[in-house]
Symmetry: D3
Subunit: 326 residues, 6 copies
């Protein structure tokens, strides 16, 4: 509970002003929520996630089920702080974050590669900037999208701006940033305008795994279906906290009842991130709005754990591939 709160007590460098700084994994906060359609407050997500990660102590973060301690490994992980973002203009904020994400992605790993981008949101719209940056390095990626919602809606349905937390995956597709035949939604259960939403979504290259599907497939079946879809792709994993049931993650802006539990999600994330043919190039955790969290801060804990699980798989695979601590 002590110390300036960086994520998991990791070292902090404000990477945006230190271009020569190297790291294997860059954590960066994107405190923005102007693209939210209902309850705002995700601008405080980065603070909440860092607070929620304080029991992740590098010296005691061995993940027994994955078989690795992601914070004591070959990987140099840096908490790059937050991107300065205006809340007054979505357009300007999009420009600001795009530029910052791109800047992060120009950094090198100690061995000269490109780092894994890990964003602490912020509402879900921040993925557009992140995908632009990832795309610049990696080209088109497949998106694994955990969410209760589609987020591929046509901007026409929205008043005031095309850039919202319900449309940015549609925009990403139009900009050619992502695959048009290998993306996946997982945890879906939103109401729709109509079945046309699904047709549009399919055309944009998405496979849909609904929240209730896990009752038929089991976590294992969900993993298989996702891995099948992503196999051989560069993958960007995006985790909207509203994937989880509101009982598990009340602190979010557009909660949908009937979601997954963290026991399920941990299994699924472990399965996917350690799968052989899935190459992770970026991830985010978004839509954590602490004003709606409960006194025990369970939403923030869940969000911080999502990062821990994904990093565990990523670092484990590096380890298996022969990477060693310097």
């Amino acid at each position: 509970y002590g110390g300036i709160n960086t994520f998991a007590h990791l070292p902090h460098v404000f990477c945006l002003s230190q271009p020569s700084e190297t790291f294997d994994i860059a954590l960066i906060g994107a405190p923005f929520d102007t693209a939210t359609s209902y309850r705002p407050g995700a601008r405080f997500g980065p603070r909440a996630l860092r607070a929620g990660s304080q029991r992740q102590i590098p010296a005691a973060s061995y993940n027994a089920l994955t078989g690795v301690n992601p914070y004591a490994s070959w990987a140099k992980i840096t908490d790059c702080g937050d991107i300065p973002l205006t809340s007054f203009s979505s357009e300007l904020a999009l420009a600001q974050m795009t530029s910052a994400f791109e800047e992060i992605m120009t950094h090198k790993t100690p061995s000269g590669g490109s780092p894994l981008l890990v964003t602490l949101g912020g509402d879900h719209s921040i993925i557009l900037g992140a995908l632009r940056a990832v795309n610049k390095i990696h080209g088109q990626v497949a998106v694994l999208h955990f969410d209760a919602h589609l987020d591929t809606w046509d901007p026409r349905f929205y008043v005031g701006t095309p850039f919202t937390h319900g449309t940015m995956l549609n925009l990403a597709g139009r900009e050619g940033l992502i695959s048009n035949n290998s993306n996946v939604h997982a945890g879906l259960r939103t109401a729709l305008v109509g079945m046309g939403d699904y047709r549009d979504d399919t055309e944009q290259g998405w496979l849909r795994i609904g929240s209730e599907d896990i009752d038929d497939l089991g976590a294992k079946g969900v993993v298989e279906k996702i891995v099948q879809r992503l196999k051989g792709k560069k993958v960007y994993l995006s985790f909207d906290i509203d994937t989880l049931d509101p009982a598990v993650a009340p602190g979010t802006g557009t909660p949908e009842v009937g979601g997954w539990t963290m026991r399920e999600v941990k299994r699924i994330l472990r399965g996917i991130t350690t799968a052989e043919d899935v190459e992770l190039v970026g991830m985010d955790i978004v839509e954590v709005a602490p004003a709606y969290d409960n006194q025990g801060e369970i939403t923030a804990l869940a969000g911080a754990q999502v990062v821990f699980e994904v990093l565990s798989g990523y670092v484990k695979k590096g380890e298996l591939a022969g990477k060693k601590a310097a």
Copy 2:
């Protein structure tokens, strides 16, 4: 988040003073909690449920799993506001609500039939008035009672009045309002005075499905068992929010640990309301007490979703039976 909060932004008419108003489905609040035995506050349930329904926007409420948008269909749905009810006297309140429910049930659908009565509670006692009104139109109905509790207890056990939220189903049976051989409890897990409670309950015509039974039967098995019981009957569906686990629905007066999740409940409700031989004539959602809800208002969200799921099934079946939007 804008606008005067009617349920799901539906049109509001104070039906009690507009006898000629027609509707296929009448929503009406019953803000009453004097029959509560432990934590009061369900008198604010109607307000909480309306607030919790605000993301149910008629233009975007297509239920993908049911295949219908209940708010954009053949059905004319009206939010009739609340019944004015005293909190000082259970007896007087019972008279007030009985008269109001009966008044609602004298209204006609646009095509000349009887509307579906949907009550936003209030504590569970309000069902007695609703059943009296439904009975006047439909005769004896089978009750599908989602609840952690029996609510068929003998009024002798209670001090001060026979009319409480633990006895009203017993009273309904004595008044001959409900079937004496085809009712169902679902989600049951309350402690008892003794096994005699179950014997009495059976004699009153109830089948009991316990909360843990779903672990053996699955949601599908639960649906089958219920549909088997209700087949061919006119059914009144009553949903006590304490059916849900306190983690899912903390905002209630007599929470019982070990309940169902909304993922389970959504499946069950879909299965039952779309079953061929089950004819719904009324429903309620009761025991939402927002003072005990958490900051994310998850209990209210769950309660509002219960209404959405039941209406989806009801409207879908109407659609399948050939009903069309005017």
Copy 3:
């Protein structure tokens, strides 16, 4: 606690689509918070204020100290519902609200005059639209601005847009909507960029009464100073809930410790609104953000009371001027 929640149970007409509707006083919600600089959430202010006003029952709302029941008087008061506003674009929202406020101000009182505009915010930026509308009818008005903050800051200090909840009074001045020599800040205690802020503010025509000034002047002295300033003017009264101490009104976006209490504020409002030479033409209550309110909803109660006190004074003066209930 029963019934669809209009403000103080007043009759609801969606005035924006009913141009011929008359009223002496129009209440209208402006659910918007995209111009907020810190904690968002004031978009839920109208809902919170309406909930907080539910114990203001027209039949029992006699204000003993003012000597009037504002809800049972000569004045026809209508709750016009909320203005539909986008949260995605400040510019578009400003256009939307300007047009709506202007529309409201084109309505007539039953006796053919112009109604009093009462806005339920929303963040403070909504005043710009309101002042545009009021100005169209009344010309330049003096603004009585209760706030911990100046809100006359130069838009240059803000990134992304000139239109924020800290600059809109500066914009109003530039647009010529308000007096340049008779405005008043009351309750001020914000930190500044520097003393230049005060020089700019003075040049824009403002007198500043600091939060601590009441300890020297007393509530009576504060009233005198304000009335002296406003005497003979048409006055628009704007009440930022952060005028109050955070202990009294925690539910707001940019709280400043050391504010006023409601006992003080009630006295001040009574003094000003019943003063002979002060002619009120509009008011608002802004910056109520219920996500930060406490379980007892004290911020919403305070905000609703501010409306009640101002309306009491306004109606009383009408009564003294000979207005009678129809």
Copy 4:
């Protein structure tokens, strides 16, 4: 924080079944809230008040300003537990509590006198039973009524029962239990049906001190006015927690903004209870509803302190009159 929670760790005897038990001061809980008009929950008041009193440790409860430790003195103080009360029927509950209070008042002090009755409410209606019991021993008493509300309203205004938390002082007057010329309201600020409420109240024998009067009189002036009124009378002191500002005591059912602070109230209570000619014969603290209290439990703390302050004055006066610890 340890031990079974009796009030201030005082010894517990369930006095109602121990008629020969003696005590100088009897504390008894009245967990009842069916006579509440808005937010219920005061039935949990006794539990909250006992929890809020846990830092009142008998060995360290010396009140420096009064000059006494009420829990280590001549006075034998017993926590008598709670009266078993139904919530289902106001009438029956009134009978139950009347009988219990009368039973308590038949107990003797160790020296053969009558004990001081101290009730932990419950909503305010419980005073009627308490006054009946006090009246049986002491005849007509003057009531010192701290409250934001009148509570002398005519039962005609209420639907369902004459016995409510807004009418019971009217009923007490009709029953001849209290003085008809020496009662006092302190802290008053409720809205009225009309000025007739004040006329009725005056006729029932009440003097009114409004919440804002303290700004003119000071705490000292308030004390003088009250003592002047009560001088020479047997006095029953009733403290509705809504006397306090909602910022100070949010956990209550019918909060009214603009109330007193505990710093003011402590001074006033000390002044009155140590005044020479005021003879206290009973007291209560009512309307504490913990569901609306904040996480820091400040309402319960305030309520428990009111008891501590009154007992300090009472015990001090006994000490000055020569009473000694046995």
Copy 5:
């Protein structure tokens, strides 16, 4: 909701000062949290658990699935109040609680045997004192340890004291209090220092059942595995509330996402406590920290239910063994 809060309204005797008092089951609170590593507050656990048990009314506590009412049976159950414990020194507190637990265990049952010890924690460290006391009577016991954490960590990892809530099972092993080949962890999911933690744990005699294992084994399989391990042993059951998912039990100090639900836990507890060859000699419920619980007090409810379920099994087995109410 009425009455001084003893656990489940059971009779209270402060057993520590009444050595001749007999009981079959002793409930005792251990309000201590100085051995907590993260969020403190479990010192208020006993108060919270007693409040959370108030709906367990002896006359209506028949457990239908176990077939017994533990509070109306052969077993005399006493709430012994709390052990007075310092918070300032872990060492002194350990001495205090050891002595108190030993004192409780010297009491006799009405029929001359040794009582079942039931401790309401407090943080988990309190088990060390309890095990010392149980060991004095029963010799080495097998520990069934429900927890997200190992709690067998080597004291070397901790700074300041060997006695913490993460090391006390290691200490218990070193003191020879517990079996070194038949203990079980259930619900485990903590991060580790490294796999060495598991090796140490195994050497100390522990079997580990992870939180996710239930997804493969089912509750039934978990029961079988545990019973297999404990068969024929005297068993001490310790329940750390963080076994439960944070959604189910947010009110605890070191929450770990991905835990069990109460529906699962109830099944498991029933299975184990009614198993033929498992002889229970003591239990505790620990780590309930109400400051982090939500407004609905769901953590306290869950903790109180754990006690109820274990007592149900224990009393049922006594009944089956021929014990009868006196």
Copy 6:
């Protein structure tokens, strides 16, 4: 709301490992609460205070009433992070913090003097280490102690350790760290063991200003009395957040009703810190326990403001003495 949370966005250096780092003012967190007697949780005080200071932006922190921006001035202010402290042993923690505070005080200002020590607590016991460190540089200091409590109690009254948050000023006196004739308590209102507490306190060199004294003296009178006492001394200012009324600062461990408001405290702090003959050498803000704060985080805001006000006075006086920004 963005960025890693240092206090007021000030630069962070972990000073304890950077001995050559210079600063005029060192902020350092002391996350410790094992010396707390009632509600623990102040170990999270530093995190809460840093979060509560986020609206103190260096570029816009001009204090209009003091006439200075403390964060844009001659003073180099550094957030030194937190002292690593065990929670398991008060004795060890005292040694750890003493050593850390002494280390901080060996640092130099850029101009070669000694820095001002500003500690973010932690419970109040942390002052003992701070006073040891300050004493090493400055010799005996006068303590200005804002608190509801004496904190000079004799360690004999406490069980387990002499070092608690109620005794450390007594210990400081015995160690000769502080003046024995010029200390001041301000805001006092605690209950006592007896009047002997005051005699002891006087003998230890303290003057007592009670909470209610401000009603007679006014804030100005309080300032005068304090300045009179401290004139010509080196002063250490300690601010226990429980000085404030629980309505203003609910988030603390031993709240006492009837405290001061922030409007009063701001005046008093300004008066004292800008007084000519008062030389500040250190300060702390202690006892902020966020688990008990409300959703609006008002306690943290108040605590952060106390730091801002004291620094404003300190920096202003430096400015008046001719110090200039480098």
